[in-house]
């Protein structure tokens, strides 16, 4: 399938319509397999069953970071090639990225309560995820402020790219900041080396999350394309309607 065909929104809609049931099926299956494997994983001798939060926490952390990269690539397409689907992809990705980031934060906080005795510490890694979350919210706010999609797309593209430049710097400076003032109360995140009995279910869950993300993203893109069509139709109708004027 030549990629040019995919660039056409109608082709995209037709193709994804056929793909969607399979994707949903694959996602459900992957989650079923993953959850069974998780159930089989041993409880931690210290943490007990709470360790199972990790199987949600870690994949969503990976996706939280991955989706910004995806958005950066897509917005590059918006700016450079003015690709018709690129800004749709970027726009659809932002709320999904924010949701996974929120999931990572929430599971982390829920996990932190039994582990550290508090929901939140200003550890470097936690903090940079929080900043990432704020930046997702900023991009979403920007998308929401403008009705004209192509204008919003270009503005959001610049913000996303500047953010992509900045995220490593933020991550690095937050690391610097925290190692400097490190209070004794913070428990280090890096636990003992991961045992295969945990690693395998983790990877399975990661695959399931990835499939979930792809499914959600394609569905959101379809939605966005349809929404834009409705909008265009409304505008055209507004223009064409026989008013008493003409």
């Amino acid at each position: 399938m030549p990629i040019v065909d995919l660039a056409n929104p109608s082709r995209f809609l037709a193709l994804t319509a056929r793909l969607m049931p399979w994707l949903i099926g694959a996602t459900v299956l992957a989650f079923a397999v993953g959850l069974v494997m998780v159930k089989g994983a041993p409880d931690d001798y210290q943490q007990g069953a709470t360790v199972k939060i990790m199987f949600i926490h870690v994949p969503s952390a990976w996706l939280a970071m991955g989706i910004w990269a995806l958005m950066a690539i897509a917005t590059f397409g918006t700016l450079v090639w003015r690709h018709p689907l690129a800004d749709v992809a970027a726009k659809a990705a932002a709320p999904i990225g924010a949701a996974f980031t929120a999931l990572c934060l929430i599971t982390g906080m829920l996990w932190g309560r039994p582990m550290w005795g508090t929901y939140w510490v200003w550890d470097a890694r936690l903090t940079s995820v929080l900043v990432l979350f704020l930046m997702y919210l900023g991009v979403i706010a920007l998308w929401r402020t403008v009705e004209d999609p192509s204008r919003a797309a270009r503005a959001a593209a610049i913000l996303t790219l500047v953010g992509a430049l900045n995220l490593p710097i933020i991550k690095w400076s937050v690391d610097w900041w925290n190692t400097l003032h490190q209070p004794a109360s913070v428990v280090r995140l890096a636990g003992p080396a991961i045992h295969p009995t945990i690693l395998m279910p983790l990877l399975a869950m990661a695959v399931a999350f990835l499939l979930l993300m792809v499914t959600l993203h394609l569905a959101a893109m379809r939605n966005e394309i349809l929404r834009r069509r409705v909008r265009t139709l409304m505008l055209m109708q507004a223009q064409a309607a026989p008013g008493s004027a003409s």
Partner: protein, 203 residues
């Protein structure tokens, strides 16, 4: 509605510390239109804003007879200025409906929109309107809410020829129903027997 009569006597206007005009007298009755003319900066807009209660009367007095005695002059007047009082993010219909409800109009917005030929754009955000379409939307306000006094500042600006004609039709209807019009203008507005008030001086 009783026969209304708007009168100003000995009016003085001071803006930004400078006297714009002084000792101005005028009177307009129901069914009459008064065209305020004069050079740029002569004080036409200032006079209209004075009637609308938006510029302080430095000296002299303004009175209305025959109107609703419970309400002030501004409350019985429509003011169509250079600004359109539109919110870009609301649709055309929402904008008009708000003003119609806020100013105490009765009917819905659609008939007024139709009267200015904007009914087909009712659902469009006002941000998308062209200069003339914005102006028409302002004019629709005059139709949506009945008020005896119309204060129009260069009402034909930005309107195309058909819209200008439609506006003068609306003005004639307003006059015929006993209303009065004070309009600042540099050109003809399509009213035959309007009186003229010429303000002197200024560049």
């Amino acid at each position: 509605m009783a026969q209304v009569q708007l009168e100003g006597s000995g009016l003085t206007c001071v803006r930004g510390g400078r006297e714009v005009f002084s000792g101005l007298n005028f009177a307009v009755g129901g069914g009459e239109a008064l065209l305020v003319t004069g050079r740029n900066g002569a004080g036409k807009s200032s006079l209209l804003r004075m009637v609308a209660g938006l510029v302080r009367i430095a000296a002299g007095r303004m009175g209305l007879t025959g109107g609703d005695p419970e309400r002030t002059i501004p409350e019985q007047a429509h003011y169509l200025g250079h600004q359109d009082a539109l919110k870009p993010s609301l649709t055309v219909a929402e904008n008009l409906e708000f003003w119609s409800r806020y100013l105490g109009g009765a009917g819905g917005a659609m008939p007024a929109l139709a009267a200015v030929g904007l009914d087909s754009l009712a659902e469009l955000p006002a941000a998308y309107l062209s200069a003339g379409q914005r102006r028409r939307l302002s004019v629709a306000r005059l139709v949506a809410v009945r008020r005896p006094i119309w204060l129009l500042d260069e009402p034909t600006a930005a309107l195309d020829r058909q819209a200008q004609e439609r506006l003068s039709l609306l003005m004639r209807e307003h006059l015929a129903s006993g209303g009065l019009i004070v309009a600042a203008t540099h050109g003809p507005v399509g009213l035959d027997n309007a009186r003229e008030l010429r303000l002197g001086a200024a560049a």
